[in-house]
Amino acid sequence: MYFHISIATALLLALCSSAVVAAEGGGFNPAISLILDGRFTSYDNGTDYELPGFMLGGEAGRGEEGFHLGHNELAISANVDDMFYGKLTAVVADHEGDTEVELEEAFIETLALGHGLAVKGGRFFSGIGYLNQQHPHAWDFSDAPLIYRGLFGDQLRDDGLQISWVAPTEHYLKLGGEITRGERFPAGGASRDGKGAGSLFVKMGGDIGESQAWQIGLSHWQADIEDRTSGGHHHDGAAAEIPTYSGDSQVSGIDFVWKWAPDGNASERNLKLQAEYFIRDEEGTVVMDDGSDTPETSTYNGKQKGWYLQTVYQFMPRWRVGLRYDRLESDNRGSDEEVLSEAGLDDEGHTPERLTLMSDYAHSEYSRLRLQFAKDESYEDADNILTLQYLMSLGPHGAHRF
């Protein structure tokens, strides 16, 4: 879903002019919001990144070295009328020297069905898990947890339909389901006539006194996959053989978040604790596509799981510190272990883990500067990663989710 730079420029110009018109009209419709994200990263290792036991895809990778741009995004959103809300988010990124615009989200959502019902259609982040629905600029760390990297290529999003219902109960209870195209990683092939993936999720939550709030979620995602390629776009294309997977994929997860602030007043001090656990079962075939008529093939029965636990503490206005621990495990079997190993599905006797420390400073709620250090043992060569990042938000910017 990339289109060329000139179209991107035209889009930006059109947006700017409409923003001027909106400002002159004194209105804010539609809301245009821009996220600026820039980074400096240093690694100890120069080797290619891999995550033993997992086929990487989507956005997954360790990112570039030195000064580089992060996730710069432009979002336009508004109520279309009294019934619909619409939003489009475009990510502007450099990709191998070319500036490209990727359509990250483009969806409509009902506003006024009532009875706790909402229907969303288009391209959107799936409602599974806790972190999945948050935009990267709302993350507390500058990168995704390893389990999100390993299973979803950082984040699960697809084109389709979502229906959700909030129960009219004392405690918060939300049920949701999605049916989606199933073409993007970690699905593939848009099987079942373009309805290849689906999910179900439940969320519950409440308060404990005035100072604490919690939410717990359960989710399940399923896809019929045809020729999911991996290697992603972060490899330099030198690999002659491209591993592809076809078969069934089931992901189940549980997520938990707990927030504390004295008397519920988060402006001075607050604490957040969050954890997620996912497990994936896959059964199918792995093919090493080398362009020949008889590529190497293996049956594949994969079990991958992982979790992370993180906590972020704002100890005074503007300043926060955070700690995150990640851990993955996999047990992948097949008829030809060598093929699986070439596909990156052998865990090589290694248990990927990572410890991340973060501190950030927010001059206002619209600007943030972050310093992050990670001891990354997600592959065999342990790496020390230092990241310096700015995140700025321009224009009207709506509230973040809980």
Partner: protein, 301 residues
């Protein structure tokens, strides 16, 4: 079959009785509106206050419990003028309750009922967290509050016409008590006229406008931005030139900045209740004004 039939009848009956005794379910964004709705609605309404006097109404987490409450509300009563822009739209979008969406009869914005102070000529983030529709802290002017009470009472009648007489009599009672109190407040507040007071945030614009108190500076260098040492030094210099009678802040704001400036200048730092529940004995809107004036008069005799 027969059993199912009775079960359906039973459930229907339960549903009907629930409807007939169901009270109007009000979700008040801030304690002052919870108090006003309680005064005007009496026992015909059930009230949930989304925030307490200890919480900054600009910065509230759109918590799951609040989504559940908005889901079941018949009426939202909020300050409006973008005070809740950081959390209320998220609650409304997530709750799936069309009765309480903007533009619906179940969404009441207090600031929209009155003329607002501080409407900026232009809006730029470098000016801090300013509201394009003006200052939203409208409940601290007793005259505006009466206008809002009248509009809210009308709204209750529209939503629950069968109890219109009940709401009318409660409003009449409130109006006469409020007018009497207003006379008393105006009489005792005379010494405050022309006094100079430093504020933490622009929470007090309407109160000062009513009492003709002069704002002598603000601890926040820009609205919504925390104070800095450099800013305090500047304030101190300005206050040496032209002194002030008090430095006011409220419960949800940290007293540190006010106390620091108080040390630097010798001007008394004073916590004011700001809203219902913001101090001992501040249990309704009447005691909110009583206590606010009492505390101000103690340091500015």
């Amino acid at each position: 079959m027969n059993r199912t039939y009775y079960l359906v009848l039973f459930l229907l009956g339960m549903g009907l009785t629930q409807v007939s005794v169901a009270k109007l379910n009000i979700f008040a964004c801030e304690p002052e509106w919870a108090s006003l709705a309680k005064t005007l609605g009496g026992d015909q309404v059930t009230i949930t206050a989304a925030t307490t006097a200890h919480q900054d109404p600009h910065r509230i987490e759109p918590r799951p419990s609040l989504i559940a409450k908005v889901r079941r509300a018949d009426l939202l009563v909020c300050s409006g003028a973008e005070l809740e822009v950081g959390w209320l739209p998220m609650l409304q979008r997530q709750a799936g309750n069309r009765k309480v969406l903007p533009g619906q009869v179940g969404y009441f914005e207090a600031a929209e009922q009155v003329e607002r102070l501080g409407i900026p000529k232009q809006v730029d983030r470098s000016m801090g967290d300013i509201h394009a529709s003006g200052n939203p802290h409208v409940h601290l002017d007793p005259n505006r509050l009466l206008t809002i009470a009248s509009a809210l009472s009308e709204r209750l009648k529209t939503l629950d016409p069968s109890n219109a007489a009940h709401y009318r009599s409660r409003f009449d009672d409130f109006t006469s008590r409020w007018r009497q109190a207003l006379k008393r407040w105006q009489r005792i507040a005379k010494p405050l006229k022309g006094a100079r007071v430093v504020v933490h945030h622009q929470d007090w614009d309407y109160l000062f406008d009513w009492l003709q108190i002069v704002k002598a500076g603000s601890l926040e260098p820009k609205p919504g931005l925390p104070t800095s040492a450099g800013h305090l030094v500047k304030l101190r210099q300005a206050l040496i030139q032209e002194p002030a009678g008090a430095i006011v802040y409220t419960h949800y704001q940290s007293p540190k900045a006010a106390n620091r400036l108080s040390q630097l200048t010798g001007i008394a730092a004073l916590e004011l209740p700001y809203t219902v529940g913001g101090g001992e004995g501040v249990t309704d809107l009447f005691s909110l004004y009583d206590e606010t004036l009492k505390r101000l008069l103690k340091v500015i005799p």
